[in-house]
C-alpha cells in the first residue's frame, strides 16, 4: 500500500478543568469536580441536548471533545463519513466500579440498567455517532498507554481503503476524577502533518 500523506485538521485537549482547541485555551473553570466542569462546558456550548446528563463521565468527556471538533463539521443535509477510532487505558472501569457497588449488597440489590449500559467503553462512540449522525466505521481499543503509533496507522488504513473520508481519533481516559481527552480530526488535506512525532508532541501540550 502506498501511503498518501494525511493531516491533522484540528485537535482538542481536555484536562485539568480546561479545554484547548488547537493548543489555545477556549474554556476553563476553577478547580472543581468533573461533573461540575462537564456541566459548565455543556452550558458554555449553549447546547440543548438533555441526553448529555444521562451519560457517564467517560461518555461526557468523549462527547464534549467531539462537540468542539465537529460542531463546525455537522451538516445534516449531507452524509458525513467520519470514522471514529478511540482508545484509552481504563476502559469503562469507572462506571464498572459504580455498577459493581450497586450489586454487591444483597440487601440493597438494585442493578440499574442506566448504569449498566455504560459499562462498555464503546458506548461513548454511540453517543457521538447519534449526536452527529455518523453512520460510519467505529472501534474502541484499549492500550496500557497512549499509543500514537497504532492510532496513526489504523486511521490511515481507514482513509486509504476508502472506508472513511475523515477519521476522528480520540484518547479518552477517565477513572475516578482523573481524566484526559485528546481528540483530533484526520483528513486528507490540512496543514499539520499527521505522524507519530507530532501526535506525541500535541498530546503533551
Amino acid at each position: 500500500m502506498t501511503a498518501k500523506k494525511t493531516y491533522i485538521q484540528s485537535f482538542c485537549t481536555i484536562q485539568n478543568n480546561q479545554i484547548l482547541m488547537n493548543g489555545e485555551v477556549v474554556f476553563s473553570t476553577e478547580p472543581t469536580a468533573f461533573s461540575d466542569f462537564s456541566k459548565k462546558t455543556y452550558q458554555h456550548l449553549e447546547m440543548n441536548y438533555p441526553k448529555f446528563f444521562k451519560m457517564d463521565n467517560l461518555s461526557k468527556l468523549a462527547f464534549l471533545g467531539a462537540e468542539f471538533l465537529l460542531k463546525s463539521e455537522s451538516n445534516f443535509s449531507k452524509e458525513n463519513n467520519t470514522a471514529l477510532v478511540f482508545a484509552n487505558k481504563s476502559s469503562s472501569l469507572d462506571t464498572d466500579v459504580k455498577y459493581q457497588n450497586s450489586i454487591s449488597d444483597a440487601e440493597n440489590y438494585y442493578p440499574s440498567p442506566a448504569v449498566f449500559v455504560y459499562t462498555l467503553p464503546n458506548i461513548c462512540l454511540g453517543e457521538i455517532s447519534i449526536k452527529h449522525q455518523l453512520k460510519s466505521e467505529n472501534s474502541f481499543f484499549i492500550f496500557a498507554d497512549y499509543n500514537p503509533e497504532f492510532m496513526e496507522k489504523y486511521s490511515n488504513i481507514l482513509l486509504e481503503t476508502l472506508k472513511a473520508d475523515k477519521v476522528l481519533c480520540g484518547w479518552v481516559e477517565y477513572y475516578n476524577e482523573n481524566y484526559k481527552a485528546f481528540l483530533y480530526l484526520v483528513d486528507k488535506e490540512g496543514e499539520i502533518e499527521h505522524n507519530q512525532e507530532i501526535l506525541k508532541k500535541l498530546y503533551k501540550q
Binding site: 442493578p111 440499574s112 440498567p113
Partner: protein, 85 residues
C-alpha cells in the same frame, strides 16, 4: 395522592437525570414518553427499578410499564394501589 405525585416528579427528575426540568414543568397528565418528557426505553427500565426499590412493586410483565408509566397521574394511581413500602 398529591404528595405522592410531587414525590414522583422529584424522583423522576433525580433518577433519570432530567437536568433542565423542574417539578413545576411536569403536569400530572403530561405524557412521560414520546413527545412529552421525551423519556426513552432505558428510562422505562429505570422506572421499573424505582418501583421495586422505593415502593416494593415488582412488575411481572415489563410490558405493563407502558400503561403504568403513561403519566404521573397513572403512575401515582398504580403505586397507591400496589405499594408494599
Amino acid at each position: 395522592m398529591e404528595a405522592l405525585k410531587q414525590e414522583l416528579k422529584s424522583k423522576i427528575i433525580e433518577v433519570l437525570n432530567l437536568e433542565d426540568i423542574a417539578i413545576a414543568d411536569i403536569n400530572d397528565d403530561d405524557a412521560l414518553f414520546g413527545d412529552g418528557l421525551g423519556l426513552d426505553s432505558i428510562d422505562a427500565l429505570e422506572l421499573i427499578v424505582m418501583l421495586d426499590k422505593d415502593y416494593g412493586i415488582k412488575l411481572v410483565d415489563p410490558k405493563e410499564g407502558k400503561t403504568i408509566f403513561k403519566s404521573i397521574e397513572t403512575m401515582a394511581g398504580y403505586i397507591a394501589e400496589n405499594r408494599v413500602k
